[in-house]
Amino acid sequence: MTPADPTAHGLLGAYALGAVDERERVAVRAHLVRCAECRGDLDELAEVAAALAATTPAAPPAGVRLRVMSEISRVRPLPPVPPVPAGSAADTTAGGAAGAPPAPSPPDVGRRRGGSSLGRARARIGIARRRR
């Protein structure tokens, strides 16, 4: 599970912000399927991005709420993604993190905690404690 693809690994921060082109996005996603460590790092970067979002709020017009509520009354929720074997190319538009449609959310076997530098850094800090 070591980063098999240093290029994809190095792009993780940019990927987390959607700051990659389509080709890179595909490469990073392929890497994420194989690399639990990078999936974990990406999840953490997504928390940072979300914490940043809390620093830049903007009020949308009230009409958006009505449009959204009206729209969802016509949309059926998707079922949860069935578990797939780790390593398969499950590509969902749902789970996970960061700018691009996320790495496969369900399998995530081999997830480890606190092993990466980000994980260790996070262990000392505590983003996302602060919501709002």
Partner: protein, 198 residues
């Protein structure tokens, strides 16, 4: 293999009340609960709209992004995995993805024009950057407070707030790709230290 643990309560203890509440709203949304979804929207809309507005700039387009993103939140709530992180991180990623897709596909974006002028030498390098930075608005001022190093701030503002790709940023700022990538990542790491402080 270690037991699977929640990754997302960050250190220092259990998730905060709002994290728990938002995750629970997503769970109820996945069961088709309209009221829970509406509450989730109300709780997260300002953060989400800020993200959309930062990237697409145009308020009407940002409203569309917000609407599409929340319809996706509704339809894919069953796929949210609480073990991977907070509901807010999941939602903001969806919003950002939608917003970035929109600016990437809109060919007539004035920002691309700016990049073109820059490449063609119509606008000198420094004034291009000044022009970009001249757009510093309240959002970026707040980001400035968070991200302390000016080079990181510029790169992160272009990527995070405005949805530029790292390659576009490298061209605009005439920096090597690797430098841009590492500034994005280092900028996020630095931001994490600041926004993460309790």
């Amino acid at each position: 293999m270690p037991p699977r643990k929640r990754r997302h309560p960050l250190p220092g203890g259990p998730p905060g009340p709002s994290d728990e509440a938002e995750a629970d709203l997503v769970r109820r949304t996945s069961l088709g609960d309209h009221a829970a979804f509406e509450q989730l929207y109300l709780l997260t809309r300002a953060r989400a709209f800020g993200v959309a507005l930062g990237v697409v700039r145009d308020p009407t387009a940002a409203e569309d992004v917000l609407q599409e993103a929340f319809v996706q939140v509704w339809s894919s709530a069953g796929r949210f995995d609480v073990d991977r992180g907070s509901a807010a991180a999941w939602i903001m990623a969806i919003v950002r993805h939608r917003a970035v897709d929109l600016v990437r596909t809109s060919a007539a974006s004035s920002r691309r024009d700016l990049a073109h002028h820059h490449r063609s030498g119509v606008v000198a390098h420094d004034s291009t950057v000044d022009l970009l930075l001249g757009r510093l608005d309240a959002q970026e001022v707040r980001l400035t407070l968070v991200v302390l190093s000016p080079p990181q701030r510029v790169v992160l503002a272009l990527a995070y707030l405005h949805g530029y790709s790292h390659a576009e940023i490298a061209r605009l700022l005439r920096l090597p790709l690797g430098t841009v990538k590492s500034r994005i990542r280092d900028g996020l790491a630095r931001a994490r230290r600041v926004v993460g402080a309790p």
